[in-house]
Symmetry: C2
Subunit: 444 residues, 2 copies
């Protein structure tokens, strides 16, 4: 695939990375059916990042679908102060430089409607993050961000206002990530329109920067810290169920978005003609609780948010409520756009390493829903802790752990079905896992 | 004051309570400057509820303003199955009946722009709650709420759908409270329009019902459980600061609501002409973090949400973002309505007594912001625990504790100022406190 170009955004984006960097940073999991790069794992891919010295990380795809829609990215991000007017340096990713702020970045993208959006996102999101961080670098190098990026006060009590609002450097990084996701979504929209591609993807990005870990999530992937004594969830899933109230509220404010084809109300099941005139359980946008509603004919329409758990759908179409792309997505056989109900804004969680005593086996686990559909946080933490304890001397133990987790979720083939050890059905989705060790993270 | 009437709602509301009940249930704190009902507490009021045997509760107002805008209500709510077509029983509040489900209700209303909305709310919210509970009583008397209120299944697997959605009787009570607040807000709007009154109020309501405590909050009052070993917050405050993103998002969706007079963006301080062209700290609706924005002339307008802490204001006008009333409220000297940005929907928190071992001194504390402005949860809990431990045999100890808390927040007069013991300024706001003992709550 050639690098996506975007007439509007290209001038604002950094120049393309040199060939070596492009190879290093391209999507890791563009294998599709038939490309078996790792023998033990049919139709799977394994990538190693030897240039990342402080953390060994792995992505493994154990897809069973024909095309792998999971994509991944991983790189260092070097942030430097840009002097306006200076020419762009072609070598925009400067590795191991001490003159610049260096961040480490990992991301997973779970595509739907094809891998295209996930591929663009895996190629672009780190550009956007780098760009947004460089725009505010004057603010994050100060102990407390100045009111003015120039650092010159217009008003003597500016520092006091900033302090009152509890604004710290970390808040600027959070803002940069939020803006980067929005920028990346715009790029994807323009690129896919220009090239007539369709589809969307979830995005889960982790950034280690200035002693803090930032996890930005838009979609249903998940990141957790598995520490010696506890598990720290670093993300929440955004699905039609978890964002029901936001989605229903938008339909309440703009009923035309449903074009008379959907009902805004939630019911425990889709209603039938027999229900008309009866009082049935329902929820509207303002309700966390339930009530009873006398069913009218209009309530028989397909519900805006419907189904439960993995079957939950937005407009009968999408299983996630946040992500990138899907600009052109319409409900099948209608002119109803899905995009207005989607959000590309991530929720960012911050973990400050200065406040925690990190142990040797502590890791960050990032994975797409293929893993979490069949393994809960406690099960994953149990695998992590026992595997690392049993393989203390193996220099490849973190990558082996990633393989181990993928294989656990993929299960074993019994006849035509893939089963877990406990005889439950295994994951039929693509599975991608990062295992990122947190100990000695500043060491070479 | 005569009972408010509302042409549209009156037929749906229960008939007025008989005189005795009305007296019992009328607002407790309609004292104004000069009416000193409690000697120790100038311009304050004290009310006792001898008919409520399982809990002694007190409301004390220690206002320093000319008119007390805090209002309170407290009653039993008896919920019975209504047979359609049957004539309304005039004696709609049936106390101590075993034939009906009985709830206990306490509420605080902190008025602004006058006490009118708070008075109507204190007279009406319990009607609305009773009504909404009676509408769903067929659902809450079952172990699991039926899909159809009639209990007759249209679809054999209805119970399975209800179970899948994890719908319990408590969710119906939460839904009833959410709907009751909305109904009460409508009543207030109609009543105040009809009588040419203005103003609004916060609403904090607690309902003890079927072994659970429900706390519904819209505004900046607060309820906490002070238990032997811990403090359980039962509410969150809704202010322009805590709801900034919701408010900014609405202005983003409907810019006309700002009528060109306000800027949607948040800045640490109001911008000045000197800031134009500079990059300053800002947040938009989608940001939890901060970024830098190049200031344009339009950014010099007054901010939609502005100020910090107690000084934070919505449209420069209101200090709360949820509550009842304010239907006619306009930003001074403009035609900009405040109501579109306000929400009347409470957040409801549930505490299940079956899951906790309640001790003798465990209490629910409900109070308006006059208390919480000067005492934090830990300070209140400390006062509660030490006071109750020192006064174990006093039968009036819970009401004495309410007085004690109010006096602590009111401080002592030193010259022209009211000061706390620690020489900080005392609360200048109205102060209302409920102390509700939780032990032996089912006993006569």
């Amino acid at each position: 695939r050639s690098r996506p170009t975007c007439p509007r955004c290209a001038p604002r984006l950094p120049p393309p990375p040199p060939a070596a960097a492009a190879r290093r940073h391209r999507s890791l999991s563009c294998t599709s059916a038939g490309e078996e790069t790792v023998a033990f794992c049919p139709r799977g891919g394994l990538a190693v990042f030897p240039h990342l010295t402080w953390s060994v990380c792995r992505v493994i795809n154990a897809e069973k679908s024909e095309f792998n829609e999971d994509q991944a990215a991983c790189c260092q991000i070097s942030v430097r102060r840009r002097e306006p007017g200076l020419e762009e340096d072609e070598e925009w990713l400067i590795l191991c430089s001490t003159q610049f702020l260096t961040g480490h970045y990992w991301a997973l993208f779970d595509g739907h409607g094809g891998p295209d959006a996930a591929i663009i996102a895996s190629n672009y999101l780190h550009y956007c993050i780098k760009q947004k961080l460089e725009e505010i670098v004057g603010g994050i190098t100060e102990a407390q961000p100045p009111m003015h990026l120039s650092g010159r006060c217009v008003c003597d009590s500016d520092p006091q206002f900033v302090e009152e609002k509890h604004i710290h450097a970390a808040d600027l990084v959070v803002g940069a990530l939020e803006n980067a996701f929005q920028e990346c979504d715009e790029v994807i929209g323009q690129e896919m329109e220009a090239t007539n591609q369709t589809g969307g993807c979830t995005a889960l990005a982790a950034l280690y920067f200035q002693g803090k870990l930032y996890v930005a999530n838009a979609g249903d992937s998940r990141a957790i810290l598995v520490l010696k004594d506890n598990i720290v969830p670093m993300s929440n899933e955004f699905t039609p169920e978890s964002e029901r109230q936001r989605i229903q509220h938008l339909a309440f404010l703009f009923p035309k978005l449903l074009d008379g084809e959907f009902t805004r109300f939630e019911f425990p099941r889709r209603l039938k003609g027999d229900d008309v005139g009866h009082k049935v359980l329902y929820r509207d946008y303002f309700m966390e609780g339930w009530g009873y509603k006398t069913v009218e004919k209009a309530d028989l329409k397909y519900p805006l948010v419907h189904g439960h758990g993995k079957q939950a759908r937005l407009l009968g179409t999408l299983a996630v409520s946040r992500g990138l792309g899907d600009h052109q997505l319409k409900v099948i056989d209608t002119n109803i756009g899905v995009k207005p109900f989607l959000s590309c804004i991530p929720k960012v969680n911050v973990f400050d390493f200065a406040l925690h005593d990190i142990k040797e086996d502590d890791v960050l686990i990032m994975a797409t829903d293929g893993l979490w559909d069949v393994l809960c946080n406690d099960e994953v933490a149990h695998v992590v802790r026992s595997f690392l304890a049993e393989n203390r001397t193996d220099p490849q133990r973190f990558s082996e752990l990633a393989k181990c987790l993928v294989c656990r979720a993929r299960g074993k083939k019994r006849g035509h079905r893939w089963m877990l050890d406990d005889s439950h059905e295994a994951s039929y989705d693509d599975i991608s896992v990062f295992v990122i060790p947190l100990y000695k993270r500043e060491e070479d």
